[in-house]
């Protein structure tokens, strides 16, 4: 029996009923991975260790909750003794001596990490085209981008190789590729999941999250990924509920906000049509719609492109060729070592953002850019606080359109930055948000975004699960079949 496209729930019951052994499942997974190498979804595979762990699980009587579930890990999480590149030449030989908390949490729950997925370099990109390790293909079409930066993870789940993957989301890096690859992806509340061991892009925005076929699987994964971690002072010390508990509850009478300032008239009419149909569907499930104004939301993209580069310019300073990672050959002196190591080690997009970030933090510009951006960020957060007094969730398209062709955004980075128009606000406000498949445009999947209030992942998952119970967009495979 093929394991392709099976959900976590399916696989768990197959393992428990001994329809398949742990080792068989992992072997099958690697067969699938190897048959889909042209996707370029993985940078590094973890085959030997994965098979070893599966063999060990077969010899045990009682496994933990996710025992034996194969999972693909975004190559931004440090994995002990397993190369972690962050999509960069700079770390092409970096083998961390420790694992990220979220990796440990998942592995302790029984998950088997099968490999490290491709991604935009240091998570900077929306198409996976900035990876040093080459483009990732979207399973839905040759030469289509999978989105980014968690493009490898999205492609791996979308192609049915693995039921689950980890992603990180700084401005949409889970939700946008989920939308473009037709899967479900959740960015939790900032601080829900420890950042210990996540290679930092923009520390105040970065958040890890699950990517899977269904909202239910995302809830199962989230249960294990969250923890209060005293190694991360921004990790929240809040009650962690069972995220699966309430997903079946009906949403009748609950309120969905539509953001007035998200101007859909500029989008492709097909995209708008899909969105309108989803609204109707939620109405049929008993939800009410309210128009909500978020007056400062139009400032999100410029605000983000000050805050994120500023933090990245500082976070990436440690890659200097002195202690770990790449070092240029035969440096003449210290300055030469720095300049050539960083020139050779970083790609153009990373350099661009380091330059922007250094500029906005420099003496004389700090107040006009960084400080101002932080003030705007506070205003955006306040807008959301107001909105959630009136509604349970906010709804929008996740992306402006479906997957585009590699190279089609040309050389203008602003065009690529606008990809994240709908996703960035949730990061700036630290709010949970998810993307679920809600239709097709030109036979390519597209996603619906739901943004929730602080710590209300459960409610988001409830809305998403109710939708998925009554639709089949998430069950379509690229070959046009239903799972």
């Amino acid at each position: 029996m093929s394991i392709q496209y099976k959900s976590i729930k399916n696989l768990t019951s197959m393992l428990q009923n001994k329809e398949i052994s742990h080792k068989e499942l992992i072997n099958e997974t690697f067969t699938l991975i190897e048959s889909k190498m042209d996707l370029n979804a993985f940078i590094t595979l973890n085959k030997d260790a994965a098979i070893e762990k599966a063999t060990l699980l077969d010899s045990k009587k009682n496994g933990s909750s996710l025992a034996g579930i194969p999972i693909a890990q975004k190559d931004l999480f440090c994995t002990k003794d397993l190369r972690t590149t962050c999509g960069s030449n700079m770390l092409s030989s970096f083998i961390p001596p420790y694992s990220a908390t979220v990796i440990s949490n998942l592995e302790n729950a029984g998950c088997i990490s099968v490999g490290k997925t491709n991604m935009d370099e240091f998570a900077m990109g929306s198409s996976n085209e900035t990876s040093f390790y080459g483009n990732v293909e979207n399973p839905w079409g040759k030469n289509l981008v999978p989105g980014g930066s968690s493009g490898g993870s999205a492609s791996a789940v979308s192609s049915g190789i693995v039921p689950a993957a980890t992603g990180t989301d700084t401005g949409g890096s889970i939700r946008q590729p989920a939308s473009l690859c037709g899967i479900t992806g959740l960015k939790p509340t900032y601080g829900r999941i420890s950042r210990w061991g996540m290679i930092a892009f923009a520390s105040s925005l970065d958040q890890a999250g699950p990517m899977a076929r269904t909202a239910e699987d995302c809830a199962i994964l989230l249960n294990e990924m969250c923890s209060h971690d005293n190694k991360d002072t921004t990790s929240l010390n809040e009650h962690i509920p069972d995220f699966t508990k309430d997903i079946d509850q009906p949403i009748k009478g609950m309120k969905i906000g539509i953001v007035k300032e998200f101007d859909l008239s500029k989008l492709d009419s097909e995209v708008v049509k899909v969105f309108e149909e989803s609204k109707k569907h939620y109405e049929s499930l008993g939800a009410e719609f309210i128009e909500i104004s978020l007056p400062n939301i139009s400032l999100s993209v410029p605000t983000y492109y000050v805050v994120a580069p500023a933090e990245c310019s500082s976070n990436l300073s440690r890659f200097d060729g002195v202690k770990f990672g790449k070092r240029c050959d035969d440096p003449k002196n210290l300055e030469d070592l720095y300049i050539r190591t960083r020139s050779e080690g970083f790609g153009d997009e990373v350099k661009r953002r380091i330059l922007i970030g250094s500029y906005v933090l420099s003496a004389g510009f700090y107040d006009a850019y960084y400080k101002k951006a932080q003030q705007v960020r506070r205003l955006i957060k306040n807008d959301f606080d107001e909105a959630f007094l009136k509604v349970d969730v906010l709804m929008s398209p996740t992306t402006r359109g479906p997957a585009f062709e590699a190279g089609s955004k040309g050389s203008d980075p602003i065009q690529m930055y606008l990809e994240d128009l709908f996703t960035i606000p949730a990061n700036l406000a630290g709010l949970p948000a998810l993307s679920i498949p809600n239709g097709f445009v030109d036979n390519k999947p597209i996603g619906l975004q739901l943004i929730g209030n602080f710590l209300e992942e459960s409610k988001l998952l409830q809305f998403a699960h109710n939708f998925q119970k009554t639709t089949d967009f998430h069950l379509k495979t690229p070959s046009g079949e239903n799972i």
Binding site: L91, T233, T234, S314, D320
Partner: protein, 476 residues
């Protein structure tokens, strides 16, 4: 023309916490390179700092002792610059919201008092160390020190000369050692300072252009560097040129300062709030606990020594001037009821030895415990004061145990009066002509007999007993 000097000091005090400011790494000194380094100190990808509250507690003690504003909520910023021994490419420091705000400290210069205002004192992590001379053509990096907590104490530019600067540095050192927040060990770099020096005409309101001399770690060098710098700046201005704002290094071998980098070459540190660390909030309970358990400060000790131990003000001042000296005094006083005796020894013989060696009490081989034993042996009459003096000199050289010296050299005072009487009688019998002269009115000869007995007993006789016995025998 008369020139006025304006000096401000930035003193870096290494806080004596067990672990580093943002990691569990050890702060121990002198370990093999790169052995006191954990993932965080290395700045590995993905690691995050966690603030060490103990460092905050120690900083707050300093703030309370200098009557400073304490910011119970303080935060961290990043100071960005590249250097091989700076693992993250930025230093985490407190720029916008330091833990300690405005305060002040009293200094004493040749007997007159002056108050120096302190602008702020903030926490920051130390960098590692670059080692240039061990590897041919290569530089080694030792990260043992990276992440060690520092309290940077910034003074107002209110110091007028090198002497005052040294007095200020000494006052800060005295305070931090009494507060038990720093070991004050300058040789190991536990205290270092940057000195800002400028000169101006007396009548001028505006400050002159300053030069910053980096990283000086001895009183002597502070004084010399400042004096060199003042002369240099005067020479420049009087020759019609202007001082450039720059960072300079003091070369103690050549006794000169030289340019390290000019203002144009200076880094733009691109400070911004560290997004990895939330502001640290010290609760009222924590704050009050620190306040109520503040160690006794030099001023308080001085007053107590006068009122409780009946010391003279001058004695009390000297003894309370250093924590080690005060500890010695208190430990020795626990062994005797005669606090005056203890004070006399410290202010007298011990201070004389310190002066002649030109060292601080912390650098001497005399331990607090050994000194207390010496005092105890004087008090219980095991040894005479004269013997004690020679023992002190020996301990001063060797650091040996007082009791061992007494035992090995048989220096125990002869207490048995019958033995002393026997010796005294022998001396009298052997010096009959002197006895005759004494009895004939040459009173001064009494000292001769005392001296002879002491010589015979190798100084081990109790002088008072000898006096009594001789008087008896000679006057009978």
């Amino acid at each position: 023309m008369s020139w006025e000097t304006v000096i401000g000091l930035e003193i870096h005090v290494q806080l004596s916490t067990n672990s580093k400011l943002f990691s569990g790494g050890s702060t121990g000194f002198g370990a093999e390179p790169n052995t006191h380094v954990d993932l965080i100190d290395m700045g590995l990808p993905g690691v995050l700092p966690v603030a060490n509250r103990e460092a905050f507690y120690k900083a707050i003690r300093f703030g309370l002792a200098t009557n400073a504003e304490i910011n119970q909520t303080s935060s961290f910023d990043r100071k960005n610059y590249f250097y091989p021994d700076l693992p993250k490419g930025y230093q985490i420091t407190q720029m916008a919201m330091p833990i300690v705000g405005k305060g002040s400290i009293k200094i004493d210069v040749d007997g007159s008092e002056k108050v120096i205002n302190i602008t702020r004192a903030h926490l920051e992590e130390d960098a590692g160390k670059s080692i240039h001379d061990l590897f041919d053509g290569e530089t080694g990096v030792d990260l043992n020190r990276a992440g060690t907590p520092l309290l940077e104490i910034v003074s107002e530019p209110e110091i007028s000369n090198a002497k005052e600067a040294v007095a200020y540095f000494k006052a800060v050192r005295q305070l931090v050692t009494f507060l038990d927040i720093c070991d004050g060990n300058m040789a190991q770099g536990s205290m270092r300072c940057d000195v800002n020096v400028s000169i101006k005409k007396e009548a001028d309101e505006e400050l002159g252009t300053r030069a910053e001399i980096k990283n000086i770690n001895s009183f002597k060098f502070i004084e010399r560097a400042i004096n060199f710098e003042i002369e240099r700046q005067i020479r420049i201005i009087e020759s019609g040129e202007s001082v450039v704002q720059e960072t300079r290094l003091y070369d103690s071998v050549k006794n000169e300062t030289r340019s390290m980098r000019s203002k144009e070459e200076a880094n733009d540190y691109r400070y911004f709030p560290c997004p990895d660390l939330l502001p640290v909030v010290i609760s009222d309970d924590e704050f009050n606990d620190i306040k109520n358990n503040l160690p006794e400060l030099p001023d308080e000790k001085e007053k107590r020594y006068i009122s409780e131990a009946n010391l003279e003000e001058a004695e009390a001042k000297i003894i309370s001037s250093s924590k080690t000296m005060a500890n010695m005094f208190e430990e020795a006083c626990s062994k005797t009821n005669d606090s005056k005796l203890v004070a006399n020894w410290l202010v007298g013989d011990v201070s004389a030895l310190l002066n002649s060696d030109n060292i601080d009490i912390e650098e001497s081989k005399l331990s607090s415990n050994n000194f207390a034993i010496l005092i105890e042996r004087i008090s219980d009459k095991t040894i005479s004061g004269k013997i004690a003096k020679s023992i002190l000199e020996e301990v001063w050289e060797s650091g040996d145990d007082v009791d061992n010296i007494i035992k090995d050299k048989g220096l125990v005072q002869i207490q048995d009066e019958s033995i002393l009487e026997e010796i005294a009688q022998k001396i009298i019998n052997n010096n009959l002509s002197q006895v005759e002269a004494y009895k004939g009115g040459k009173d001064k000869l009494f000292g001769f007999f005392v001296g002879q007995v002491m010589k015979e007993t190798q100084g081990k006789a109790n002088p008072k007993s000898v006096n009594d016995i001789l008087k008896n025998l000679l006057n009978s």
